[in-house]
């Protein structure tokens, strides 16, 4: 089921300061997809999620889930959370400590007064689906973090809701478990073909889980796209910087060609991939990710996008070296293959892949 959000506004007053948690948010979340709200803490992503589920009342706007308007200031509608037929996985999992696993998972069905046999079967099936078969009698407090997370997921799935909302559900797991659970979650959600709205501040989680990512900042949606679009072809400096490690070089557009744009920077001219709406003389920022900078032992090579510099520092990080290379006054972050025989202080040449030099609007 799809979700349509129109002109949603919400303002808080915290310690005497006015905080715009949501500012004119317009959003269409497509059905049966994993849609992620990504952003730094305090950007309003959790407020938006809680507004969709009904735990928060926005000051203004309209939210429509499927055909039903669940919130509208203009029409004076506010459907309480228990009537919206959604489900949610909380950051803290919100497993009820006084109930066992069965009661926790059965709860949504019990609120719907379903017959006991049906509840029993559906809880059993759901627990098996999340690989917790046979855990029914376990007290909820006697579970590991990963198991609690699965109970929370089972509880969210058991009533076969229209939409599932996730509020940073993996942030309380340790790094290794988080990676495994992320993969599992992706599998579960793809199998079920369910609409999922997922909130996170973790860019890897967002990139690997989502069909669509919306990046938020200070209560506003900054950019929406597929993970690849967001990563490789962002329009915004904030997004490019937030989504991954990036070298951002300021300059001005010098020449616009058929499929290339040449930008004049402190490094020299950088040949970039074509961007619409850029005309010569515009102030722009070139974004080059470290993995698209080739490091060469010999200096002095000629050609487009080749720059000479020397290695300021070189740190071994396991699968590669992370290097800082000074070109003139600019320091660039690069990835150096461990097979390359270079050392701190060496002069090296860098080559930027023009296809992956993208132009950002400031």
């Amino acid at each position: 089921m799809d979700i349509h959000i129109t002109k949603l506004n919400k303002t808080y007053f915290s310690e005497g300061r006015r905080i715009e948690a949501l500012f004119d948010v317009n959003l269409a979340i497509p059905a049966n997809e994993i849609f992620t709200l990504l952003g730094p803490s305090g950007c309003g992503k959790t407020t938006l999620l809680r507004s969709i589920v009904g735990l928060e009342m926005p000051d203004e706007g309209e939210i429509q889930i499927g055909d039903e308007i669940v919130f509208s200031t203009r029409k004076g509608i506010f459907v309480p959370p228990e009537k919206r037929g959604l489900s949610m996985v909380f950051q803290s999992y919100a497993i009820w400590p006084h109930m066992n696993v069965f009661d926790n998972v059965a709860y949504p069905l019990q609120t719907q007064k379903k017959p006991k046999e049906e509840i029993r079967d559906r809880v059993k099936n759901t627990l098996e689906f999340v690989q917790l078969g046979g855990f029914e009698n376990r007290p909820a407090t006697k579970l590991s973090g990963g198991q609690q997370q699965r109970v929370a997921l089972a509880r969210a799935l058991v009533a076969q809701p229209k939409v599932i909302l996730f509020d940073e559900p993996l942030s309380n797991l340790d790094a290794k478990l988080r990676e495994e659970t992320r993969k599992e979650l992706r599998e579960f959600l793809t199998t079920l073909r369910i609409t999922a709205v997922y909130v996170t501040h973790d860019r890897i989680e967002a990139l690997s889980l989502s069909d669509t990512v919306a990046v938020m900042k200070e209560g506003r949606i900054v950019e929406i796209g597929t993970p690849k679009q967001i990563y490789f072809d962002s329009d915004r400096r904030f997004v490019a910087d937030f989504i991954g490690r990036a070298n951002l070089v300021e300059g001005s557009a010098a020449k616009v060609e058929a499929d290339r744009t040449i930008v004049n920077t402190a490094l020299g001219d950088i040949v970039c991939s074509k961007k619409k709406d850029v005309s010569p003389g515009d102030a722009v920022v070139v974004c080059v990710r470290p993995e698209f900078i080739e490091v060469m032992e010999k200096t002095g090579g000629e050609g487009p996008n080749i720059f000479n510099g020397h290695i300021d520092s070189l740190i071994f990080v396991g699968d590669a070296y992370e290097g800082e290379i000074r070109v003139g006054d600019t320091v660039l972050i690069v990835r150096v293959e461990p097979t390359l025989d270079v050392h701190q202080g060496d002069e090296v040449a860098l080559r930027f892949d023009p296809d992956h030099c993208s132009i950002l609007l400031k």
């Binding site: 959370p81 228990e82 489900s87 949610m88 909380f90 009820w96 006084h98 069965f102």
Partner: protein
């Protein structure tokens, strides 16, 4: 909705404010007034009269020695016990839990009386026994002295000191000691330079709190101090209002002001110290286990010491009272003593209309008072923890205010208040006074219960389709029940044994158990006292057990639905 919650908080501030601030205001007004009946004109006469009394200096000196002495005794013993429990491999560690909880259930006045029955110079059981064995002409011990008072008060306050020190020792990061040793310091130097300084806030907090408690203590000073003519502030106030020809509530208020001031300052000091203590704790790393010192052969001697202490704290008082209630007069246990045992004291007490009235009154106050107190506490905690408006902080400070007021002083304040109302000399006066004074005992456990109910737990139920009432019934109340039960138990036991407030507020017709025990003690009717004392302990214990059982049953009922489905769930698989 916001407006409704603000109204709730403001309403509670008014109620709690009336309960806790009113008696203090009346105490201050009273101390500048001419008499209880009518305020008269503003006068400093009562202050001049009480503070120029030549005996007053001695009372202050006694109070300082008594409170400080008790604090040192209690803290040293608690430190010893806490160290043994948290840092050594002493066997039977459950005893430490028993020591820190059970003595709270034995009324202080009965504990004091049992020691008096053991160690008084004329017929104390231990004295009689030692005189017999060693053919002494004089009793070796005299409890009617400051050291005697300090010993008993120190033992009484041991659980409080332990409850402060044990968590501090348990949270102690041993790596701090280890790093000191790695730096080349000897064991002794480590103790002096690292261990004790880190524990210092907790030790000082324990000393401060025990001083506050013993300053407010009335049981030991009245039962042991007064017969020996050793007066401290609380008994001095009692003397002014309850004995002699002319009772003077103005003078009592004037004297009470200094106890109130001292107590309030000490509580602020305690808060400061515990805040500092928290700061120390946060430095320590998480998730470590303290290294346990192997006591080896010393294990059992140390255990014997702990066992004797628990015997003294829990079993001995009850045994002495039971024994005394059965023998006709004080005598060392012997074949003759056992042959003379009878239920005479018991039948006398059960036939005494005032004793029976005091049982009824105390049970009413315990059951009904604790229930009312818990209901008020639930609302207050809800406003403090869940509503959290700007006024919540004020409400919180107000509810904990009475914690720093000595009971007898607040009793004098209530007297100035109630004498102007139809509540005077009724059981309702006691009820209101009890709830006001012991409100922190209800709020403490309920606050932690409310804190435990994370907002997500309720929200999650709403999202799962549970409406407000459904969520309240299935999530909030079941999670609150343990907190409600412990709050009720604490309040009910406190109310059944209440002495300090009651000696001021209790009038003919509103006698309560502890006051009746005090009357028997003043008249030297030890047999009847002991019988009534055993009844008192029996009532407290029964209330505790009933409340715990009810709590266990209530929490069970809530999950039965699930368990039933569970059984059905398993049946088919068996077939």
């Amino acid at each position: 909705m916001q407006r409704k919650s603000t109204t709730l908080t403001l309403g509670l501030i008014v109620i709690v404010g009336l309960l806790t601030v009113c008696p203090v205001v009346m105490l201050i007004v009273g101390s500048f007034s001419q008499g209880l009946g009518s305020f008269g004109t503003f006068t400093l006469e009562k202050y001049i009269q009480s503070y120029t009394d030549p005996a007053f200096a001695e009372i202050i000196l006694n109070t300082v020695i008594f409170t400080l002495g008790s604090a040192i005794v209690a803290t040293l013993l608690a430190l010893f016990l806490a160290y043994l429990n948290t840092r050594t491999n002493i066997p039977f560690k459950f005893l430490f839990g028993v020591i820190s909880i059970i003595p709270m259930m034995i009324p202080h006045i009965l504990f004091a009386v049992s020691w008096l029955l053991l160690l008084n110079p004329s017929n104390g059981l231990i004295n009689l026994f030692l005189k017999d064995v060693f053919n002494l002409t004089h009793s070796p011990f005299n409890i009617y002295t400051l050291p005697g008072m300090i010993l008993v008060e120190g033992l009484l306050d041991l659980p409080i000191a332990y409850l402060i020190l044990a968590p501090a020792l348990a949270a102690f990061d041993v790596s701090m000691e280890e790093s000191s040793k790695v730096c080349g310091a000897s064991n002794l130097r480590t103790l002096a330079r690292v261990t004790l300084p880190i524990l210092r806030p907790a030790i000082l907090a324990s000393i401060t709190l025990v001083i506050v408690r013993s300053l407010a203590s009335f049981a030991v000073p009245s039962v042991i101090g007064m017969p020996g003519r050793i007066y401290v502030l609380s008994t001095h106030i009692y003397r002014i209002i309850a004995t002699g020809f002319a009772t003077d509530y103005g003078m009592a208020a004037a004297v009470g002001m200094s106890a109130l001031a001292a107590s309030t300052i000490l509580i602020y000091l305690y808060r400061y110290l515990t805040a500092e203590g928290d700061r120390y704790v946060t430095i320590s790393s998480r998730g470590y286990r303290p290294t346990v010192i192997d006591l080896k052969k010393a294990k059992y001697p140390f255990f014997v010491v702990v066992a004797i202490l628990s015997f003294i704290l829990i079993v001995l008082p009850v045994l002495v009272l039971l024994y005394t209630s059965l023998v006709p007069y004080s005598m060392v246990p012997s074949a003759r003593a056992f042959s003379m045992m009878s239920l005479r004291h018991w039948t006398e007490v059960l036939g005494d209309p005032i004793s029976i009235l005091s049982v009824k009154n105390s049970m009413f106050l315990g059951i009904f008072g604790a229930t009312l107190g818990v209901i008020l506490s639930i609302f207050v905690c809800y406003a403090i923890v869940k509503v959290r408006t700007a006024a919540s902080g004020l409400l919180e400070s107000l509810s904990f205010l009475s914690f720093s007021f000595p009971g007898i002083v607040i009793g004098v304040g209530f007297m100035w208040l109630f004498v102007r109302t139809p509540l005077y000399a009724t059981i309702w006066a006691l009820l209101i006074g009890y709830i006001a004074t012991y409100l922190p005992y209800g709020i403490r456990p309920l606050t932690s219960a409310f804190v435990q109910i994370h907002a997500h737990l309720e929200e999650s139920s709403r999202v799962c389709g549970g409406g407000t009432l459904y969520t309240l019934r299935r999530i909030v109340i079941p999670l609150l029940i343990p907190g409600i039960v412990s709050a009720w138990i604490l309040m009910a036991t406190m109310f059944v044994r209440e002495l300090t407030l009651s000696v001021v507020l209790s009038r003919p017709g509103t006698e309560v158990l502890a006051v009746q025990v005090l009357r028997f003690a003043e008249d030297g009717l030890w047999g009847k006292l002991s019988a009534l004392g055993i009844i008192m302990i029996f009532i407290s214990t029964t209330l505790v057990i009933l409340a715990s059982l009810t709590g266990a049953k209530l929490t069970k009922v809530k999950t039965v639905g699930g368990e039933e489905t569970q059984k059905k769930l398993q049946e088919p698989s068996v077939k």
